[in-house]
Symmetry: C2
Subunit: 142 residues, 2 copies
């Protein structure tokens, strides 16, 4: 495997990549312990939107700071990227907004996903992991 | 898209799937906020092992409860699985153990990944998301 190096992504590029995939993981605190759930998301106007159902552990995170992560890292050569955003998770209450996202964002299972959560990213970090063509193996001639 | 349903995985099957992939995400609390980092891992004797470097935020999680998540969920049809384990992250100190894992677990970048972290899973949960062939669309004739 060739050497790799991390390259930082801008906020704009990070949000673009987050919007290019539909699956990510929401990270929150539940009963004082770190918790994580994979969900599908939408990036809309720079915010992350997801749906959940009554009774979901995730609802304990409403109005608290959460992290949201998405990545695409190859199992084979570990080339890829990852983006993490951090912000407060808010539950949407407006009927027209909820309706709009119910149309745009389809849940995986036919559950009653009647809650819509939106996270406005306060912190955005991202990196890509790329082949480092400039790196030479230790001791190799230039 | 056909209907989907969740199927719970046993502890054994969850750990088997976790061991079948090399990339996951460690979830921890950093400066009182939820944090998440993608890493590569090894499942060894039922425990999750990963490497990190001095100065990593992740080190603040040593001796605390962390979660570790891996999944394989298709971007196209959302068929797949996810596993989350929860346990205390311990830093290994024994030279022979560290050496063994340094051999077995290759970091992505040629950093000094001199710290080895092991998580013994206390809680293990997993689900697979499968096509629900028994579900009929609402209103469809049987």
């Amino acid at each position: 495997m060739n050497p790799r190096r991390f390259e930082e992504l801008t906020r704009e590029e990070s949000l673009r990549r987050l919007g290019s995939v539909s699956v990510g993981r929401i990270v929150f605190t539940h009963q004082a312990l770190p918790a994580v759930r994979p969900v599908n998301h939408l990036v809309d106007n720079g915010a992350i939107v997801l749906r959940t159902h009554p009774g979901a552990a995730l609802l304990s995170a409403v109005d608290s700071v959460v992290a949201y992560e998405a990545d695409a890292i190859s199992e084979d050569d570990h080339i890829g990227w990852s983006v993490v955003i951090t912000g407060v998770a808010r539950r949407l209450r407006g009927a027209s907004e909820i309706e709009r996202y119910e149309r745009l964002l389809r849940p995986w299972v036919p559950d009653e996903m009647e809650y819509v959560i939106r996270i406005h990213p306060e912190l955005v970090t991202g990196f890509s992991l790329i082949e480092d063509n400039e790196a030479l193996p230790h001791g190799a001639a230039p």
